[in-house]
């Protein structure tokens, strides 16, 4: 029976960020948090595997003071148990720091067959965490998985590359990062949300993880961040009669 750890990131919703027109600064003050889009597919993939073959799923997340608010959402998606590391170091963390913290935390949660990550997060989309974790945990890495199965203790993965699909087979422990096409995430119902409140969750402190100061210091230093804008004409055509709309559009395009 597969024993799975899923890592997810609690990120600000990029759709709530606005760009100040004159300075191109980002305004995140109204932004709400969410479980990073593709992490939901990763949780779903792990949960479905265990619904089919038994076993258990636990989640691990590293974030700032807001991360605790993610537990209910994460657990309502099917995992049995959640671990979280709340630490201000996460605010400036790059993939180097994040992987150091997650690898140490995963070690604290017990034995596993698979660590499942998503392809990339919706905020930085660095696509590094899964592969870095494999190196730090000293287990094989499988990235860009589009299908995942478990057959008598063997893990079978369909991995999608640019011009080839690899069918890979291995025994755990292994780190797998999955593409969103692996499965559609569920929308948790009221019952699942209520049940989530009763599931166990454990806070891990960075101080328990035996990491050096160096391992918590980012290697990539952010110099600046600027909004990207493009000028558009914003002409809206909305007549009742579609043929008229099309004529208008073609007229506009003729003078472009």
């Amino acid at each position: 029976m597969p024993n799975i750890v899923v890592c997810y990131k609690w990120v600000i919703n990029e759709q709530d960020i606005s760009v100040k027109e004159d300075t191109l600064e980002l305004n995140c003050s109204r932004a709400k948090y969410k479980i990073s889009d593709y992490d939901r597919n990763a949780i779903e993939a792990a949960v479905r595997l265990c619904e089919k073959y038994g076993g258990s799923v636990r989640t691990v997340s590293y974030g700032d003071e807001n991360v605790k608010a993610s537990l209910k959402d994460a657990l309502s998606r099917g995992p049995a148990e959640a671990y979280w590391i709340e630490d201000p170091s996460s605010i400036t963390a790059d993939s180097y720091v994040t992987a150091n913290v997650l690898a140490a935390a995963i070690g604290k949660t017990g034995a596993y067959d698979m660590v499942v990550c998503a392809e990339g997060s919706s905020d930085t989309y660095a696509q590094q965490t899964g592969a870095r974790l494999a190196a730090l945990l000293n287990v094989p890495a499988v990235t860009y998985a589009m299908e995942l199965d478990w057959q008598d203790g063997n893990i079978i993965v369909k991995r999608k590359l640019a011009d080839i699909v690899e069918i890979l087979q291995m025994k755990g422990p292994v780190v797998i990062s999955v593409l969103p096409e692996i499965c559609e995430p569920r929308i948790p119902g009221l019952k699942q949300v209520l049940a989530a409140g009763k599931k166990p969750s454990t806070r891990l402190n960075v101080s328990e993880l035996s990491l050096s100061d160096e391992q918590l210091k980012p290697k990539n230093r952010l110099i600046k961040i600027k909004g990207a804008v493009s000028e558009r004409k914003h002409v809206l055509i909305k007549e009742e009669d579609m043929a008229k709309n099309v004529d208008k559009l073609l007229e506009y395009l003729r003078v472009e």
């Binding site: 759709q15 980002l26 919706s122 930085t124 094989p140 909004g227 002409v235 809206l236 099309v246």
Partner: protein, 307 residues
Amino acid sequence: MRDIWIYSESAAVATQMIACAGKISQTGKLRVFISSEDGTHSIVRAGVDEVTVFRSADGRAESCVEALSALAQTERPLAILFESSCSGKEIAARCAAILGTGLVTDALDIRNNEGIIETDRMVYGGLAIATEALSSPSLITLAASLYTPAAALGAADASLRIQEADGGSAINIVDRLPIERASVDLTKADKIVCVGRGVGKKDDLNLIYEMAAALGAEVSCTRAINEYQWFPPESYIGISGFKVRPSLYIAIGVSGQIQHLSGIRDSKTVVAVNNSESAPIFASADYGIVGDLYDFVPCMITALRKN
């Protein structure tokens, strides 16, 4: 001076990356690592100092991670530039973890600021560009848009080495199935019709293709549609797909999430058709038609054929 290394899976991309490395190299050596033997004759003449071909027993490009990171551990190059392919990104991330260093994926620009490597890359789905200063060795995967054909330098031949790379990995390769790639180069298309999830089923694509033919446009899709596998794999537009720059781009039933919009930013004219007036695509369009795509497309075909 410290060296710049390049890792690539193909000679064609390697030669383009060599041009890019020129932006940050000072007087150090330029060294190329490649996981395919095809075409290496073109790289040895491309003005580099050394070319190493990784030959792996299991045929997986990823098998070079141990060898490459061990070399980097002892020789400490200033930077290693990786091809931004799926394997390239995995290799880069694992090397970065082994070396205990940073990595910037999909860099849009790289600079050498007095020995410190700086990069620009998209964040928040392309809503913003982050500029970062990297620690050393600086590991970077280069966004495909940075690859421009390099001029042949015709310098003296670089030395060529073959190195066995054995991942010693516990991964069994059961099968390898080639996938059919789209034959059109979307990045060079002059007109593009993009299909989003507003198009309800695969059969409806026929209508879209008819309109595209009347327009002389290529057809592409959003990543959400890519997941349905109606199109050849990875032929979608956006931050994780193609960045396009057509003179005309028409979005049909596309909501216009930022991850998609960051792929069409360089289009000259953007047209959007969506039945929801609040769809974000309208804020990024020159001309928006609020209405049902199933009304729009047939009308458009008729009008185009009349003209």
